[in-house]
């Protein structure tokens, strides 16, 4: 399978702190990859480097076969590398529907609308609302929405550009334990139809075990384990530095 994303010795230092150290990783099309690691291990830095928010100190990023190191988030989004945020980044004064229309309007002008020329943004927005179960919040202003709903909206917005690859930063944070699985089912159900690669940061090992084929474990800016999910989660180093000796259900803090 072709690699959609590839990083080569990607490094980012902030003064004396190394947030990403020579990260080389390739992600195949259509795979679902989990990223685990304690707080400060470099997961979000990795996302920020890959999406162009941060410029790497050294190393390269390739997306869809072309080198994109140093490109802006805007350019990468237009190429189909889209992301959602740990803290929902939505347009507070717009309604749920309008939030999606913003993205779909941009997608239309960038000719990446989900079904290309056939679907009008208004129609696609309604479809997305339906897929994410957000219809009842259609006319609600985003700032009035509950955190879990904002989270869903944030992810739905990342889908408006019809991504080739989707990066989700802690999609289930701020969502109650019993709702985490249904949220993941919903999100992956909305995406999976189109063979999109998904990479998501997650602290809940049960979620990681259930939804990913492959796991990247981060520790102090490095990938300490990379492979099939079950193998990585059993890895002694991962158990020691990330999951914790007791293999606790959720590791929020070291």
């Amino acid at each position: 399978m072709a690699r959609i994303l590839e990083t080569n010795r990607l490094t980012k230092t902030f003064g004396a702190v190394t947030a990403a150290a020579e990260i080389s990783v390739g992600i195949e099309e259509g795979t679902i990859v989990g990223v685990i690691g304690a707080n400060g291990a470099g997961k979000t830095t990795f996302l920020n480097l890959v999406t162009g928010y941060l410029r790497p100190t050294s190393g390269t990023v390739s997306f869809d076969g072309r080198e994109v190191t140093g490109e802006t988030p805007r350019r990468l989004t237009r190429l189909g590398l889209c992301r959602s945020f740990q803290i929902p980044q939505v347009f507070d004064s717009l309604t749920t529907y309008e939030n999606l229309l913003v993205g779909l309007g941009i997608a239309k002008s960038a000719r990446r609308a989900p079904t290309e020329s056939t679907a009008a943004p208004e129609k696609t927005a309604s479809e997305l609302l339906q897929k994410f179960g957000l219809e009842r919040y259609r006319e609600a202003t985003a700032k009035t929405l509950a955190e879990g709903v904002r989270k869903l909206l944030d992810i739905a917005m990342a889908l408006t550009m019809n991504p080739r690859m989707l990066l989700l930063d802690e999609p289930t944070s701020g969502v109650s334990a019993e709702e985490k699985f249904s949220l993941m089912d919903l999100v992956l159900g909305a995406i999976r139809q189109d063979r999109v690669a998904v990479l998501f940061v997650e602290h809940d090992m049960e979620i990681v075990r259930q939804y990913t084929q492959r796991v990247l474990a981060f520790y102090e800016g490095k990938i300490i384990a990379d492979g099939p999910s079950a193998a990585v989660l059993e890895d002694p180093a991962v158990r020691r530095y990330v999951v914790g000796e007791e293999n606790r259900r959720s590791v929020q803090e070291r």
Partner: protein, 311 residues
């Protein structure tokens, strides 16, 4: 009725009433209304900027460019038609904003406000120093025709042109704000990072809206110059720019019609205050602003919005 259609009906009604009532209005009222609408056009541009999250304290720059361009055009054309004059004013203002926007679009909040103010004060300084443009006195502006009609009833003709320009601008800007491109304005105000992460350029959106706001201010400046029959450097002075911000805040940004209501009320209030309290009229204006901010923080237009919600 759809909101879009209700809006069109409302605009058409205002235009028809204006055309019909115009000839019966006393000259002072006609003058006051025309000037208000011209200033309302500048505030309409500010409405767009405020929706984009920016407050410009330098719209006087484009107001003056519009006025001076219209005036200069009429001198060169030896009279000339009013429509051509205001069109040139709006166009030149847009060109100026396209150039200055390269720098302005990089700034936000107080830095944007101060930089826009600085540009307008530079123009003020230049106008005061240029004797060819009449220095501090400015010069008179007198077109020979309005849309081809010989200027007999001049006040009424300029009034019609102003009402027409305002209605045209309102309909266009309203359509723009409802479009995919226009919807990016509040998105930029709410979250610039997300706009970039959705694939649009924040700087380009800001730049475009600066140019639109400047064109509206230039149009307003040209119309004001025709109405008053005179331009002077005060048009670019910071107090003039401040007045436009005053109108925009007084009016609120909920509707494209709000700035015209706000401008009219401000002119009326000022005329009354000036007549009845010539020494303390600023005090009255300040108190009015205070009351609006305290009791109608979303501007005068929120009165209508509130009623609609109850109904």
């Amino acid at each position: 009725m759809k909101p879009g259609r209700r809006f069109l009906v409302l605009v058409s009604a205002v235009v028809v009433v204006s055309i019909a009532a115009g000839p019966f209005l006393p000259p002072w009222a006609l003058f006051l209304i025309t000037v208000s609408i011209a200033k309302g056009l500048v505030a309409l541009g500010l409405l767009l900027l405020i929706r984009t999250g920016l407050v410009s304290f330098g719209q006087g720059l484009y107001f003056a460019i519009g006025g001076y361009a219209a005036g200069t055009a009429s001198q060169w054309l030896g009279g000339g038609d009013a429509v051509v004059m205001v069109a040139i004013g709006a166009l030149l203002s847009a060109v100026a904003a396209a150039a200055l926007g390269i720098l302005l679009a990089r700034y936000r909040t107080i830095f944007f406000a101060m930089l826009s103010l600085a540009f307008s004060m530079i123009l003020y300084g230049l106008l005061v120093k240029s004797s060819a443009l009449g220095s501090t006195d400015g010069f008179n502006v007198a077109p020979s025709t309005v849309a081809g009609v010989k200027a007999g009833q001049f006040g009424y003709l300029v009034f019609l042109l102003t009402v027409g320009s305002a209605a045209f601008s309102c309909v266009l800007l309203d359509a723009y704000l409802r479009s995919h491109l226009g919807r990016l304005a509040p998105a930029v105000r709410d979250n610039e990072l997300r706009v970039e992460y959705m694939g649009a350029s924040v700087r380009n959106i800001v730049h475009l809206n600066l140019v639109i706001a400047a064109a509206l201010a230039g149009l307003g400046g040209g119309l004001a110059a025709l109405t008053v029959g005179h331009v002077d450097p005060e048009m670019a002075y910071w107090t003039t720019s401040g007045e436009f911000v005053f109108i925009a805040i007084l009016s609120g940004t909920a509707s494209v019609l709000a700035p015209f209501l706000g401008a009219l009320l401000l002119e009326l209030l000022r005329s009354l205050a000036y007549e009845h309290a010539p020494n303390t009229w600023q005090l009255i204006m300040g108190s009015a602003m205070l009351l609006v901010i305290l009791f109608l923080p979303s501007g005068l237009w929120s009165i209508f919005e509130r009623r609609r919600r109850i109904a």
